[in-house]
């Protein structure tokens, strides 16, 4: 009886443990199924590289190149902000902040990482965009530049806190050896500690990229929403995520537009999947390198 019950529990947990796999597969299958009809209408190649996105025109145009470029531009811009500031802050917390400051800064950074994206979007829309519009004398504050800035600041706490973890994993002996050889703190930090934490910091950056690519509400509110290929960083753009969020409500179910939006979601999903796998590989190598095991 006892043995039966033991086995029963084991099986229950085993089955429930596969829920994540079921959901992941479910997401993939759903996206594939709903996205499939669009590829009967238009070749994959034309879908990916077409430069016209007019899903509601007659006949409609389903070229998502402007959307992909917008996502790339905004994500790249966000990283230009988030990587130096995030990694710089992590180095500060690791090297310069004293015990008290660190005890205070680390939780603050983590709490800031939890600010909802809609709040960033709102802040970007009502404060940052009008401010930059006036400051730079541009026709609209809602553009790729503003979106990059807001998104970058939003990703900063994440990049910072993962980088800081990576730095704190570097064995003390590395640092002591370097200092003993006569290097000063800055040289030790930049040439010994930071390179040793290099793959951990890369993981932080890659996860930051993943977050920025998939972020929806902030770019929806701040990026401006024009689905044309941007000519400058001050043009309004419409990244993939905000296209889905903005158009899903009006797309007729089962129409080519509807399945085109699912196809965009599928591409987004694949991009983040690749990003995650790269991050996973790098962090595994890193742990092995420092002899931390799995």
């Amino acid at each position: 009886m006892t043995r039966f019950r033991e086995n029963l529990y084991k099986w229950i947990f085993t089955i429930l443990a596969f829920a994540s796999l079921v959901f992941l597969v479910g997401i993939i299958l759903t996206l594939l199924k709903e996205a499939f009809p669009i590829f009967a209408e238009i070749k994959l190649f034309k879908f990916l590289l077409g430069s016209q996105w007019y899903p509601t025109y007659e006949p409609p145009d389903f070229g998502i190149l402007p959307l992909i470029l917008a996502s790339v531009l905004v994500t790249f811009g966000a990283m230009v902000v988030a990587v130096p500031i995030g990694v710089g802050s992590a180095l500060y917390i690791h090297e310069l902040a004293g015990e008290t400051q660190r005890a205070f800064l680390k939780p603050i950074i983590e709490i800031l990482a939890g600010i909802p994206s809609i709040v960033f979007g709102f802040f970007g829309m009502v404060i940052v965009a009008p401010f930059l519009q006036k400051l730079l004398g541009i026709p609209t504050g809602l553009n790729a530049f503003t979106a990059s800035l807001v998104l970058g600041i939003m990703a900063t706490p994440t990049v910072c806190s993962i980088s800081e973890d990576a730095l704190s994993f570097v064995p003390r002996s590395f640092r002591e050896a370097s200092l003993a050889l006569g290097a000063n703190r800055w040289q030790t930090l930049m040439r010994v500690v930071a390179p040793a934490a290099g793959s951990g910091i890369s993981t932080a950056i890659i996860l930051g990229i993943g977050r920025a690519v998939g972020e929806t509400m902030t770019v929806l509110m701040v990026a401006g929403g024009a689905a044309v290929i941007p000519k400058s960083i001050f043009d309004p753009v419409r990244p993939m995520t905000s296209t889905i969020a903005a158009e899903m409500g009006e797309a007729v179910m089962g129409s080519p537009h509807y399945s085109a939006l699912f196809a965009i979601a599928l591409i987004l999903f694949l991009i983040t999947l690749v990003i995650n796998i790269i991050a996973e590989i790098i962090s595994r190598r890193y742990r092995l390198k420092l002899g931390l095991g799995r």
């Binding site: 947990f13 997401i27 983590e110 709040v119 709102f122 930049m190 040439r191 972020e215 929806t216 990003i275």
Partner: protein, 307 residues
């Protein structure tokens, strides 16, 4: 930013300054510049985030009143309060946790207590990691296609909660795993040595010991779920309801979606922006209080276990 260790040349290995010697060398100058840059980095980050909080608090405070918190909206969202949105967010979050906590806990128990080192475990780990990276809008589409359409739940609290629950699952699993792993091995060994079975040990020893840690992880995820917008765009949220939701199949107002709708719909932008400030402040207070609570609890626990 990161200078490879290979660039270190022999000339850098000078003897350190002799005591009393005070010549300023290039490496001291670069250290001074470098450290200044690091200070500027963190100051900029904290200033930007601080100004976000400042503007929202400064503009939101004047909007918030007892009426704002407890009344239903009137006159096309320009008067009255946002109580249904607060209640809606509460229901959605509660539903999401009710769904993902048992599932996440079971998964964490399996991974930490039962898992033989096998391909299955690696597959589960990999899918958890990947699930954690799926963009929120993709969850929204999935929830719409499956819960709203295929299962026929419609745009409802149920669909929204399930969608948010799946999204919270990876976080709940890893938090629970961390908490269970922190239970000292000796506790389990003592229990097994006394003749308790594996399940009895888990139920009576492991879970009660890990409970505070698990709760902390859950609270942290509650904060994240409460602030999400994209997953509920098409699965649960609506701009306006007459009153409060009466069943799990009714659509709801929710704070994050309400902010978005106030900024993009309607006819009186100035009034609506003020209300959106109020909603942002409520949401910010809610989320930040919850995560601050979780983080303080966690630090206290970590100190207790000394890890």
């Amino acid at each position: 930013m990161i200078v490879s260790s290979k660039t270190t040349k022999t000339r850098d290995f000078e003897f350190p300054n002799a005591p009393g010697q005070k010549t300023l060398r290039s490496k001291d100058i670069s250290q001074a510049i470098g450290f200044t840059v690091l200070v500027l980095c963190i100051v900029f980050a904290l200033m930007f985030l601080g100004s976000l909080i400042y503007f929202i608090v400064a503009n939101g405070l004047s909007v918030i009143s007892w009426e704002f918190l407890t009344q239903v909206p009137r006159r096309a969202m320009t008067q009255g309060g946002v109580a249904p949105a607060i209640v809606g967010t509460f229901y959605l979050t509660l539903g999401a946790i009710a769904f993902s906590l048992p599932l996440g806990l079971a998964c964490a128990i399996y991974l930490t207590e039962y898992s033989p080192k096998s391909i299955a475990v690696n597959v589960i780990r990999l899918s958890i990691n990947n699930l954690a990276g799926v963009p929120s809008i993709v969850y929204g589409l999935f929830g719409f296609a499956i819960f709203v359409k295929v299962f026929g739940f419609g745009v409802s609290i149920l669909s929204g909660s399930l969608t948010l629950g799946i999204m919270a699952l990876p976080g709940i699993i890893s938090a629970s795993q961390e908490a269970i792993l922190a239970v000292p091995q000796s506790y389990k060994e003592a229990s097994l040595a006394l003749g308790a079975t594996h399940w009895q040990t888990i139920k009576k020893i492991v879970l009660p010991t890990a409970l505070p840690g698990i709760l902390t992880g859950v609270i942290l995820n509650v904060g994240r779920v409460a602030g999400e917008t994209a997953p509920i765009l098409f699965t649960a949220a609506t701009f306006y309801t007459r009153g409060y939701p009466d069943s799990i199949f009714s659509e709801v107002m929710a704070l994050p979606y309400h902010i978005y709708a106030l900024m993009t719909e309607g006819t009186r932008p100035e009034v609506q922006t003020q209300i959106a400030y109020g909603c942002s402040l409520i949401l910010l207070c809610l989320v930040l209080t919850i995560s601050a609570l979780a983080i303080i609890l966690r630090q206290r626990q970590r100190r207790e276990y000394g890890s």
